[in-house]
Symmetry: C2
Subunit: 239 residues, 2 copies
DNA sequence: CTAACATTTTTCCAACTGGTCAAAATTTCT
DNA sequence: AGAAATTTTGACCAGTTGGAAAAATGTTAG
């Protein structure tokens, strides 16, 4: 499966600034794409990691290249050598994010039984909120701003995936294995409840207080959500 | 009930820049606070309204005074005449927001029955997401950034309120009127599911598509959430 | 070793940022 | 109306921002 259509952004990064050494021969149209070096990959990863940190905390506009460069441990011009513009960094980040972010939903298996499937979907999402809160916040930040830079991916890739899974849910409902309800809003509610623990982490911790705000909160959340969704979705006693 | 401890921020705005006309007499310690004029109130409201628009979209760091001034239809220095610093605007906004934002939870009545109470709490929150999405996003933005400017309010006012309502929920559980579960996470899940429709509005609309993404989505959400929470919280058949 | 390329640093810039200040315009009060 | 206060404006500033150019330094294949 191709890593979602990340449109341009795929250019080999260098070659952009390099003096066009086409003088020698303008014969090969696909012009040697120049293999990506070890350093390139390493530094790019470093930058993306730093950018994730900064963007997820301040949003696109609020983040500065200097900040990202500092976190990445390099100078600003050096960073700009790898990603010639701020937007490129963000675009790459979002492109990669969307793929991994939707993986849990992709795994929901139409051939499985609804409750085990939904239950483990919720668990996986909750684990992601716990283990990748920055990714969650990056996504949330983009959404809050109206998703200007990923609206297309949302409207195409995300929508298609959700449509597909909504159909799966409907099938389960038809089979009487699941309460008949709105599959889209069902998915929304799973997203909302799980991502809440990453995006509103400060609030969750503050409200739970030092006693219950520790690491145990994810276990508690899992237990609670399981109960909420299970008994909310269990069809009335079979006939 | 005082509008939550908004600490300073309460100074009459003017008098800050006014040349200290104390030359006449340094006799009255509480120095005439100079009544707030009509224009002051009007312009301040204008600014706060514009600031809500901009802050909710770009977060604190990402928003600029120029932007706010433009939306408010006045020059930057003029805006700064009313709010001498960017942070003041934000602080005021957050202070007022928290009060109105928690009103629905405050209304949850310990003397009522759990289901009608919870049901109408969900409805009220959903209505707020529909009618005041910018407020919701402003709040979300602040949370995403770790709530640096309102952490204190969160830890005190919000926590106290939630503690109180959690006790109410526990009472209902003790009385067997509600499934025994974690009252804190229950409240979180209501916040998450309802605010999702304001904060992730773009996503919701994109996924529902032009057909179902219209105004009806809030009604659908209300119906779905009601079902989710109702049947998830209904205690097992009485003995 | 060295030419060719890749990486990094230094210097620089124009636009934007939050904010100041004094003067001018307007409103309010008597 | 006229004085006093309030409000608005225009010019200005120092620091930050995203980014460009080019020189300096590494790295590596032949």
């Amino acid at each position: 499966m191709p890593p979602t259509k990340v449109k341009s952004a795929e250019v080999p990064i260098s070659a952009t600034r390099q003096h066009k050494a086409d003088a020698e021969a303008a014969s090969h149209p696909p012009a040697k794409p120049r293999p990506i070096t070890r350093i390139q990959r390493e530094k790019q990863d470093l930058i993306l990691e730093a950018a994730l940190e900064v963007f997820s905390l301040h949003g696109f506009r609020g983040a500065t290249i200097d900040q990202i460069a500092e976190v990445a441990g390099m100078s600003k011009p050096n960073l700009l050598y790898y990603f010639p513009r701020k937007e490129e960094i963000h675009r790459r980040l979002m492109g990669e994010l969307l793929v991994t972010w939707l993986a849990p939903l992709r795994e929901m298996d139409a051939n499985g039984d609804p409750f085990p499937e939904i239950r483990s979907y919720i668990r996986r999402k909750l684990e992601m909120a716990r283990d990748f809160p920055r990714e969650s916040r990056l996504f949330a930040n983009e959404m809050l701003q109206g998703a200007p830079r990923i609206i297309e991916m949302i409207e195409v890739d995300l929508k298609n995936l959700v449509d597909e899974k909504a159909r799966v849910l409907l099938t389960w409902m038809d089979q009487g294995k699941l309460t008949r309800t709105d599959p889209y809003h069902l998915i929304f509610s799973i997203w909302a409840t799980t991502q809440h623990y990453a995006d509103f982490d400060v609030q969750v911790r503050a409200v739970l207080g030092p006693g219950r705000g520790g690491e145990g909160r994810f276990e508690d959340a899992a237990r609670y959500l399981e109960q909420l969704f299970m008994f909310g979705l269990t069809p009335k006693a079979r006939t």
